[in-house]
Symmetry: C2
Subunit: 355 residues, 2 copies
DNA sequence: ACAGGCGGAGAAACCGGTTCCCCGTATCAT
DNA sequence: ATGATACGGGGAACCGGTTTCTCCGCCTGT
């Protein structure tokens, strides 16, 4: 019913070629040697009628939709966009399409993922906010699934994690090597697993290095968030700022520029994720991320065997990507340290060229 | 066949509730008053079994997939990402999903769109590169369709255009009001319709205002492109630069900063599109765009009636969004004009070789 | 020459829903 | 009480493919 104006069905092709539907199906799927003459006739008619199989019907009978869903918290974040892009490309080359779903709130994540799974063969879940217990339940429901940017206890589900701890450690080491002792973390969303992991690492670093001061202020995950905390960051007196992610760092840099703060002269700022944008920030952002290894592509490589597998299927894999430090121009010697050893004189003077 | 581990079918629910499949279907779709007792029984069993209808099957029988495709040239461009986001949100609230397809080359656009249409009810086409003749043919094949960011001759197809000409005019007016007489356009991709329209407008402006010098250099559509043309831009001696889009402007600003060029002191730079990022550029970018009106949402509003329409359907609408000038800090008085009143002499002086 | 084997193609079942058609029953009016 | 009507729900067809099963005809081997 309500068939749109889309083309002919396999039945019409069969009629036109004077064969059965089964034969048309066989021919067009390159099945067991059909009589070449018939094959040619079918193909000719299919071509003449511009026949295109109805994918929905095919999916119903084969049970595979050739589609996977990507469930993302925020379509506005380049980090997730890059996942979408690389996943789309990887999936496309295997003949799969990608359906995007945005779970704008943590509560919706589960519901959205379930809905998505109903029309797809698998789900790629970027679910940093759902709590562990719920997540486990969800995962079993929507499998096959790959979980991104989050480390799971459950070894049965594929995941692509990023070693946030290693990333944070690299950033802190970088900053402390530059003489920074007073660090400030502009936090991400409270429920974000990425945030929690970064915070935990920072706390453990702080605990093991008493000479460091590591404070935290609430932030967010957007440029606007970074922009809005600039004054508070300045007021804190910290010399090294670790923004939750590149976007936050970005907004922060913009506002600091407006406030004529010299970065990195007065203040060093780091991001997280290594989005393409970070290279073009002014000043270029020091951050951590993986340029080559692409999360979306890795996710696909973990998902594909699960899709192909006829039976219960083989081993589920995990990937843990370790981000690399990308040194930009947004970090430099701590103001207090400039006078001494390495760095030359000239401290936070009324720097004229604050841009 | 090959039914994944997904839940029970309508038949099982029917059996469990002791009714026919038809009744289960009616109950769950809220059809004509079914006996409340039976309705409750069915619902109870559906709940107990955690029944979720198989969407593929439903689609086959209803002929509607509740999915639309978005065909985009480049998933990496925030401009398109914002379309994706707003379209996704608008579609979601109507119960539709969005399938993304990236047509990485102009040649692929048609093929991708056709493929996409086979599993969707409609296509949103952001096809700035396909030539008019092909586009017309394509459009009739994949209808219902909405074409974005491109003005069409064919009045039968819905489109959301952006008045690029008006945007360019505003930018040029803004720059000339600041005293700029020597303008440089960093071109977009050769085949891009957006580029062509902007270029045509610039040419017509140049023709009608002989006092202006409007030159063009090849560029691109990415931050990297903007970054790479910085030296050439400087060498041109122009004082006002119109970048093809915000990303190009962005890359350009970054490189200019690296070259210690004062923007807007030495050089004014404008973008195009008004992506969120532009507000956070350093310096904040002067650009044109539509903040509130969202292309994707508008596209949906044009598409929805076509989807709902049972018959051939009503009038196809067109939207033409007029971008607004967003003045940032990347534009300022022309250097030559700074000394005097408004905009004195100083024409194309011993221009150090326009490249 | 006849039986067995094999390959090719049609018939039909199936995927899991929706919906038309029709029948049986309950309700209402006469 | 009986006929007309409304309505609820079951049976079955249908959407458009894929795939199994079966049958037919021809080839081959003895």
């Amino acid at each position: 019913m309500a068939r749109s104006n889309v083309g002919p069905t396999i039945t019409e092709v069969a009629k036109a070629a004077g064969v059965s539907r089964a034969t048309v199906s066989r021919v067009l799927n390159g099945r067991t040697t059909v009589d070449p003459a018939i094959g040619a006739r079918v193909r000719a008619q299919a071509e003449r009628l511009q026949y295109r199989p109805n994918l929905t019907a095919r999916y119903l009978s084969t049970g595979r939709t050739m589609t996977v869903s990507l469930v993302i918290p925020d379509l506005g974040n380049p980090m997730f966009q890059s996942v979408l892009r690389s996943l789309t490309r990887a999936a496309e080359s295997a003949g799969y399409g990608v359906l995007v779903a945005e779970a704008q709130s943590a509560e919706k994540e589960a519901r959205i993922a379930q809905d998505a799974r109903r029309q797809c063969d698998a789900v790629v879940l970027v679910a940093p906010r759902t709590v562990d217990a719920e997540l486990d339940a969800l995962i079993t429901q929507v499998a096959p699934v790959v979980v991104l940017n989050r480390r799971l206890k459950d070894p049965h589900v594929a995941s692509v994690g990023i070693d946030y701890g290693a990333g944070v450690t690299q950033l802190v080491d970088h900053l402390t090597a530059l003489g920074h002792r007073d660090l400030l973390y502009v936090a991400g969303p409270e429920r974000s697993a990425a945030h929690q992991e970064r915070l935990a690492t920072l706390n453990s670093i702080a605990a093991s290095r008493p000479e460091l001061s590591v404070r935290t202020i609430p932030g967010g995950a957007s440029m606007a968030a970074g922009h809005d905390v600039a004054e508070e960051v300045l007021a804190s007196g910290a010399t090294g700022v670790l923004a939750f992610n590149d976007l936050v760092a970005f907004g922060l840099l913009a506002r600091l520029h407006g406030l004529s703060v010299d970065v990195p002269g007065d203040l060093s700022v780091t991001g997280f994720d290594g989005i393409e944008l970070s290279r073009f920030a002014v000043p270029a952002l020091t951050t951590v991320g993986q340029e080559v290894l692409d999360t979306g592509a890795v996710a696909w490589s973990l998902l594909e065997p699960q899709l192909a597998a006829t039976g219960k299927a083989g081993p589920v894999e995990h990937a843990l990507l370790t981000p690399r430090l990308i040194v930009g121009d947004s970090t430099g010697p701590a103001p207090a340290a400039r006078a001494s050893a390495h760095a030359p004189a000239a401290d936070a003077a009324p720097d004229p060229a604050a841009r």
